[in-house]
């Protein structure tokens, strides 16, 4: 069952590559958050209230609702044009993401893990690489944030396959850090409108030697 959800998760990455609209990309984050919640629920070894609350907050509340809502609000408030504007066309992006997923397979197999970990590792590395690819191949700064969130989803998936988990307090700290970082990204992105109407990464090229 978890494997099925992970396969759907990887399929969402393909969709991220071809999607041409910002809101579609953000809805994708919502779906990914839901999928991660499903995987976490199935993988949960001992069902107690504290674990359940942490996972609910981490995946469903935070990944699927807070972040997408916040990103949509930022887009509306700043009147950002709702197209993705890639440097690389959708079809080529699709090919590149497929290559990245194959690379993740190769990387995972060379790490010599057991079968269960292979599935998690491949999906996680695919998401991490796809997130990075979205950052470098799209013009808009908001797509960089979306790429970062996809990368973080990959890291969450990777952390599910860790044997001895971090203590609760550390997990809470990590979660808080990521939440604050996304909020700060949104804040500073809306400041960028003072130097450029375009919200494109090329407007940030003053500092150099």
């Amino acid at each position: 069952m978890a494997t099925l959800l992970i396969i759907i998760f990887v399929i969402t990455l393909f969709y991220a590559a071809i999607s041409g609209r910002l809101f579609a990309l953000i809805n994708l984050l919502l779906i990914q958050g839901g999928l991660l919640f499903g995987v976490a629920l199935i993988e949960l070894r001992e069902m107690n209230t504290v674990n359940l609350i942490v996972i609910l907050v981490e995946t469903l509340a935070f990944k699927a609702f807070v972040v997408p809502y916040f990103l949509k609000r930022t887009i509306r408030k700043n009147n950002i044009k709702r197209e993705v504007e890639p440097y690389i066309s959708g079809f080529n992006s699709l090919i590149i993401v497929s290559v990245l997923i194959i690379l993740s397979f190769i990387l995972t197999f060379s790490l010599k893990q057991n079968f269960r970990n292979v599935i998690y590792f491949t999906a996680a590395f695919s998401a991490i690489l796809t997130g990075l690819f979205l950052m470098v191949s799209r013009k808009k700064i908001i797509t960089h944030i979306i790429g970062y969130v996809i990368l973080e989803n990959g890291i969450v998936l990777l952390s599910f396959s860790v044997g001895n988990e971090m203590p609760m307090i550390v997990n809470a700290g990590i979660l808080l850090d990521i939440l604050v970082s996304v909020l700060l990204f949104g804040f500073f992105m809306s400041r960028i409108r003072y130097i450029s109407k375009e919200f494109e990464i090329t407007s940030l090229s003053k500092l150099k030697d």
């Binding site: 010599k112 973080e152 890291i155 860790v162 971090m166 850090d177 003072y194």
Partner: protein
């Protein structure tokens, strides 16, 4: 003790955010310095941190925590000087101080962490809390530098986190152990999956290279230096780089008990060498005084990384190098704040005859240059000497010669611009229109430079003991 420190800091930060009165800000910042000194003194005298599995006060952490305490006191003094000549709104000032308090506390957290996850949380907190400090002047350069810094730094630390997860996975099969820097060395020799450890180490180093300012992610660090207020640049260039060093060095010490020791040394040697090379190349093109000094920091961190790689006496030298570098670099940045105020520019070709304008400030710059370029009695001479001699004896003679050549080149460039600043020609008009600056404002940097020279000539036995303890866990 650590818990009460953090509660006190959160209290101070909350008060600073709520009450925006100038007198109140001065009182709270004084109180904060007292809290910081109190924690440091308590731990130095052998007090326990509390929370045994999460925090520890080992020698490595304590050396850099003490440095941080000294630098934060002088930085806060210089921050008041910096803010007194600007007409910021009370809210704007309160953002500055609140962020500063949280920033210093997060760095303290990194130095005292024993649990790897806790250290990551604090390292990420330094990134988040420095954002508003870099953005303080609110120019278009400031927003660009802030955006690049927080985005690349957060991304880099995400890589580190992947590395930490991989490390966790590779040790989980070899017996129960706490996921701490002191607990893992017991199980690491049993880990057979070399590739997992290698991938984990390289991801961790790439992530923390933002903080330490070495190749590959050093560029955002330079941008942050060049636009941040000068007191903040002083912190970025010294304490924050020490944070990166401590993080990487802790992983290095821990993994030195595993099968990848030789490989790690090569990675650090390559990264360190590339840092020095990039610093030397970019120094030719630099026109902005703060970027010039930022590249000098990158070069020094490169030397430290090379020292970490070659080992032996060089480990000792690397730590001493950082200690002296911390004092000198922060001194230069404080003096830089005065220079920028006087000439109202950061461009090197519009600055000149500074010795004529402000003899005391000129002496600071000359002293700083002597120490920075490693002319005896500068401590950096001894540390670089130790690093080079262990490179020759360790079989890295070719690299050592190349690094020396690059260093000559870097010192030439630094000398060119430093002496241009002091004695070079400049339009009379600029000198006449300059702002009068009190001599007392140069006191903190003079104290720091005297400290740097004193430590070079006679490092106190307690410091030497702590440095020996810090590297005791490494293989001989």
């Amino acid at each position: 003790m650590v818990l009460s420190y953090f509660i006190a800091v959160i209290g101070i930060a909350a008060m600073l955010a709520l009450f925006k009165n100038r007198v109140f800000q001065a009182i709270s910042m004084t109180f904060f310095i007292l809290v910081q000194v109190g924690l440091n003194a308590y731990l130095l005298l052998g007090g326990s941190t509390g929370f045994r599995d999460y925090f520890c006060s080992d020698s490595l952490g304590m050396i850099f925590l003490s440095l941080l305490t000294v630098i934060s006191a002088t930085t806060i003094i210089q921050s008041f000087v910096y803010l007194s000549v600007r007409d910021d709104t009370p809210a704007h000032r309160s953002y500055y101080f609140t962020s500063m308090v949280i920033f210093i506390a997060s760095m303290t957290g990194v130095f005292l962490s024993d649990h790897i996850g806790v250290m990551w949380v604090f390292a990420e907190a330094t990134t988040l809390s420095i954002a508003l400090l870099i953005y303080h002047e609110r120019t278009s350069e400031a927003i660009e530098a802030t955006w690049k810094y927080i985005f690349i730094s957060t991304l880099g630390l995400s890589f580190s986190f992947i590395g930490i997860l991989l490390l966790d996975m590779s040790v989980s099969g070899s017996g129960p152990a706490l996921f701490t820097f002191s607990g893992l060395p017991a199980v690491l020799p049993g880990v057979s999956n070399r590739m997992m450890l290698q991938l984990s180490f390289i991801l961790i180093v790439i992530g923390f290279s933002v903080k330490m300012g070495i190749f590959p992610l050093h560029t955002v660090c330079i941008d942050a230096h060049s636009v941040a207020p000068s007191p903040v640049s002083a912190m970025v260039s010294t304490s924050l780089m020490n944070v990166g060093f401590v993080a990487i060095f802790r992983f290095f010490i821990m993994l030195s008990h595993s099968a990848i020791m030789g490989w790690m040394r090569h990675v650090l040697l390559i990264l360190g060498f590339l840092s020095i090379l990039f610093a030397a190349i970019y120094l030719v093109k630099v026109k902005n005084f703060k970027r010039l000094i930022a590249y000098s920091s990158i070069e020094n961190m490169g030397i430290v990384a090379v020292g970490m790689a070659v080992g032996g006496i060089a480990w000792f030298a690397a730590i001493l190098h950082l200690v002296i570098h911390t004092f000198v670099k922060s001194g230069i940045f404080y003096q830089m704040a005065q220079i920028i105020r006087f000439y109202k520019t950061k461009k090197v070709y519009l600055i000149g005859r500074y010795f004529h304008v402000n003899p005391l400030g000129g002496i600071v710059i000359i002293f700083a240059f002597i120490i920075l370029s490693g002319i005896p009695p500068s401590g950096l001479f001894f540390t670089e000497f130790m690093i080079f001699s262990s490179m020759f004896s360790g079989g890295y003679a070719v690299v050592a010669v190349l690094v020396m050549l690059l260093l000559c080149f870097i010192i030439y460039t630094l000398a060119k611009y430093f002496f241009k600043t002091l004695f070079g020609p400049v339009e009379q008009e600029i000198i006449e229109n300059g702002e009068k600056i009190s001599k007392w404002e140069s006191m903190p940097q003079l104290v720091l430079l005297v400290l740097a020279i004193a430590l070079s000539i006679y490092p106190p036995p307690i410091l030497l003991d702590m440095m020996h303890n810090a590297i005791a866990a490494l293989p001989k």
